[in-house]
């Protein structure tokens, strides 16, 4: 048994550690803001999408399948009803043409959303606080299925076996 003072300190430390853990679990996990720090040497560009699906802050930004940056945040612009996505891109990838396409893509069939960049042909490159003009929205599976059904339904039902 340690001395009274040591015991008090030990108990206090344990209780503090326990409550710190509880605080972490209750505040950081459900919808927490805790995110991985983006590299300090990066620049920031924005892209406006019609629909971002469930893209979340922290998702990767890739180019030709290689990660070049991160999604810093997703906002809604109530002026033109679009989603504004902030991207931080590593400083070393500073030769991305400014007419590149930003697409919302899905990893796997049911995986998480991420932003994929397709290089354009422009001679000028994206710079800090720049904006990507060409964007393609998330593919929403339900909408695609609906379109498919609509296409079938709109076909005239005048098969050769029509009776009347």
């Amino acid at each position: 048994m340690p001395s009274t003072r040591g015991l008090e300190i030990g108990t206090g430390l344990f209780v503090m550690l326990g409550f710190a853990a509880l605080a972490f679990l209750t505040t950081q996990l459900p919808g927490g803001k805790l995110s991985v720090a983006s590299a300090s040497s990066s620049y920031r560009v924005t892209a406006r999408f019609e629909n971002v699906g469930d893209l979340k802050a922290g998702a990767p930004v890739t180019m030709a399948g290689v990660k070049v940056g991160r999604v810093a945040g997703v906002r809604f612009d109530s002026q033109d009803y679009k989603a504004v996505v902030d991207l931080t891109i590593d400083r070393q990838y500073n030769r991305i043409p400014d007419d590149s396409w930003a697409n919302i893509e899905t990893s796997g069939l049911l995986g998480a959303r991420y932003v994929g960049l397709d290089a354009g042909g422009s001679e000028t490159f994206l710079v800090d606080t720049g904006q990507i003009e060409n964007t393609q929205s998330a593919m929403v599976l339900e909408k695609l299925v609906n379109k498919l059904f609509a296409a079938f339904a709109s076909r005239p039902a005048t098969g050769s076996g029509a009776k009347e």
């Binding site: 008090e8 108990t11 344990f14 326990g18 409550f19 996990l29 995110s35 991985v36 802050a57 991420y114």
Partner: protein, 247 residues
């Protein structure tokens, strides 16, 4: 059958006695703090070590399973929910029964075997109030804190394996987790760990208090504590899980 019933009745009656003795025991926080230190602080290292490895295994197994469906991005969600709702509280309770429960039982059992408890009664000191209640309360306080530490370490263990070893994107790991885990999932785990704390502490002090006052008796009582605590923890875990899913 009647044996089981009478044991159950004895434990329930003992719980009533301990609860009655707990109110006055709360007036002596120093005794309780000492037990929080005994049950909690001294179990911390083993809890952290086990939490780390349970989390790492979850990262490995979860990745292997999810990769078959091409949804490795859900690894953070899977590992965190598994830890918060099941593995955290249950594994902590099992370790608690083995680490703290046994020492409680053998300590009290030895007091019984060496007539210390009887001596206290002779001096008009209620052993329930002086010895049993502080240990019971201390265990209940320590258990949820230990489970919380276990969960946090486990989540970082899963991240260590999933992100560093298996190459899941770190941002995806955390953002998917934060989007999917609700406050309810966290509170379910906390409620579970409090319930397990009551079970493990109660059984440990019960077995110690009712030890047959011999050397062999103390050993038997310690064994019974571990077995009964582990089985009861798992049974109650199923019940609580079913209740939470329904509610």
């Amino acid at each position: 059958m009647t044996d089981t019933l009478s044991k159950l009745g004895k434990v329930a009656l003992f719980l009533g006695q301990v609860l009655r003795a707990s109110a006055p025991a709360l007036l002596r926080p120093r005794l309780i703090a000492q037990q929080v230190y005994n049950c909690g602080a001294r179990s911390l290292v083993i809890i952290m070590l086990c939490g780390l490895f349970v989390g790492m295994v979850l990262g490995l197994q979860g990745y292997d399973l999810l990769a078959r469906f091409g949804s490795e991005s859900a690894l953070g969600v899977a590992a965190t929910l598994g830890l918060l709702k099941e593995l955290g509280p249950v594994v902590t309770a099992l370790l608690f029964a083995g680490r703290a429960g046994t020492s409680l039982t053998s300590e009290i059992g030895l007091m019984r075997a060496t007539d210390q408890l009887t001596a206290m009664q002779m001096m008009a000191v209620d052993p329930l109030r002086r010895v049993i209640a502080p240990r019971f309360i201390g265990g209940i306080i320590a258990m949820p804190l230990l489970a919380a530490v276990f969960n946090v370490i486990g989540i970082f263990g899963a991240q260590l394996v999933g992100v560093t070893l298996m190459g899941v994107d770190q941002g995806t790991f955390w953002s998917q987790m934060q989007g999917a885990v609700g406050l309810r999932d966290v509170s379910e785990g906390i409620v579970k760990s409090i319930a397990f704390g009551v079970i493990c502490s109660l059984l440990a002090v019960y077995e110690g208090y009712h030890t047959e006052p011999t050397a062999a008796g103390v050993g038997l009582a310690t064994t019974r504590t571990v077995v009964a605590s582990s089985v009861m923890t798992l049974i109650v875990d199923y019940m609580l899980t079913a209740a939470f899913l329904k509610g």
